[in-house]
Amino acid sequence: MSYLRRTSGTITISSALVMGSTNTNTITSAVSIHDQLETLFRSNVQTQKFANDISVRYGASNIDFLISVQMPVLELNSVGTNQPTSEPLRLLPSTFMPFDSMSTIYQLLELEAVSIIKEISGVRVFGAEIKRTKPPYDRFGPTIIVTVDGDASEALKILVKAARKVRGKGFMLKVRWTGRTDVSPEEFIEYYARAEEEMDIPPFVDPNFDSVKAVRMARDDD
């Protein structure tokens, strides 16, 4: 986060740090974190971006524990962003860097993803990359892309097998491969769809969707 600079001092926010899956409590907690941060930083447009970023990084999963997050004193400026600000925002000092903590959590998730792949397949893993998941799927956690040593068909079969074990772990799993792309586009889509289903990731997120009404409307339209 190149637009954050630490100075000195402390401010403490007690909030829920969430990891895991997607229940109502999770979302409520993510929203709660977001709201608390917004209250703190609402005086500056760019701080909204910061609050958003924090809630995305902390949100998206099931509540496993509560911590007292000690926010660093921050001075927000335009370095590394497209939105220059005239006045940096000064906040209270801190002894804790939330990003360091988040980075540790991400590393743990990466390790877990790699461990699941290895456990079910014994295949050599070339590396793992963690990416922020685009909304509205960010509620399922970050996306971890694991590169396995093999062809696409092998990697995708491993993905489908691993998917059930990933369910509720607080991240979405994808694979890449070092070998040939030896699957047809149709096969790729089928593997992808099956893995998502096993991970418990719905095809779309619409809180107002009602299967009964949707089918009834389709029948009444006919």
């Binding site: 769809a193 998502e196 997120v205 619409d206 009964v212 949707a214």
Partner: protein
Amino acid sequence: MSYLDTNVVLSLIVRDKNYDNACSLINQAPKPLYISTWVLAEAVGVLSRKLKGRYRSEYENMVEDMEKIGIPLPSQSEYIYLKGRLVEVMATYGIKVRDDLMDESELVMGDSHVKTFWAMHDAAEIAARLGLKASDALHVAYIKRLGLSHFLTLDKDFADIKDLLHDLGIEVHRLP
């Protein structure tokens, strides 16, 4: 042997507010569990409308992923994707697609004798007899022809005619 309405299958895929009821229905239902090709068509039809709707879908994420990897998008990609999801849900809950019967039927229209797929012929008769819409009647036609006796649905409209369906040898199971 039970026949699942499209809304039950959809709820299992989308995990909407009816999901718990759909699971309870399935757990309590006489096994095995079947759907027809008509359920497949209806489910894919409803889901496909949502894939490119207001909210970003996982299908769109997949398409983006395919572009990054360099895998071309086939023309039937939506259908393959939705069928893949359906296949996995069916495997999870032990649901099978019942074969369509290949029987032909004859519809007498005045002087004309029209060859017809049995489902259309039966659905027309059932629609007239029970006052149902064609798409509802088609499900009832399938249940009858495929020899299934239990109908699992989340739709109140079918519960409202359960006595009429009982007379046809079909037991309606609905939650709540």
